[in-house]
Symmetry: C2
Subunit: 121 residues, 2 copies
DNA sequence: CCGTATCCGTAAGGATACTG
DNA sequence: CAGTATCCTTACGGATACGG
């Protein structure tokens, strides 16, 4: 059987949590299971389409598990698998780093956006 | 002065190392300074355009520093700043996680790609 | 050797409306 | 409530050719 290969661990990790939303979804689930609508509100800015699409991929990758209560009105909860939990643990230092340097990053990015604005104008 | 804000540390971190290439470039630099052409070969699959574009953004973000030796033929080296080093340290658990689960991830992703192939056919 | 410039396709992602 | 379906835009990124 063929198997995709990677030149380093980060490349493999990115194959699972790459893209704009997956890390944020993962993080929203790292401390508690959540319903679909709950996730939608927690991960600010995400559309329903992107949310469900990413959740499906994450489920296929084995980091998230979906539990459908088969009630009416519908009720579905998403939670991390143990694999997902190990991933979120690996992500936590990055989260702390971001927290620590948030102010600096925010300032630089704000400048960059202003600069882009000046170019367009 | 305005300042961009984030709802969690990961969001801020992603603003700096988001996208397909930056983490890989960062990682290529985490143990040694490298020349442009060296980076191009090390970060497998990247085009010159994407490499220079990302390097410029990373320089603007203060995680990479560019040293132009002003020689002919040209010689330019890129290295991590101390800020960049702190980031690479925060990334290292994720790298280890990827390394550890590389086989599993590779297998799943291979299946997914095969599945996509069947749909198109 | 280290980039720039240009062209171009794809796919990621947003908005909106609709269904069980 | 939890999704689907559809349309549409843009920006990410590849390929290629050229310049200092």
């Amino acid at each position: 059987m063929k198997r995709k290969t990677y030149s380093c661990g980060l490349e493999a990790a990115l194959d699972v949590v790459g893209g704009k939303w997956k890390v944020l979804i993962l993080w929203a689930l790292h401390d508690e299971r959540r319903r679909f609508g709950d996730l939608r509100r927690t991960v600010s800015g995400i559309s329903e389409k992107m949310l469900i699409q990413n959740l499906k991929e994450m489920e296929a990758d084995g980091i998230v598990i979906r539990h459908d209560f088969r009630e009416i009105p519908p009720r579905v909860e998403y939670a991390l698998t143990s694999f997902g939990i190990s991933l979120s643990a690996a992500l936590s230092p990055l989260c702390e780093w971001g927290q620590l340097h948030m102010a600096r990053i925010g300032a630089v990015k704000e400048e960059e956006e202003e600069a882009r604005g000046r170019i367009e104008a």
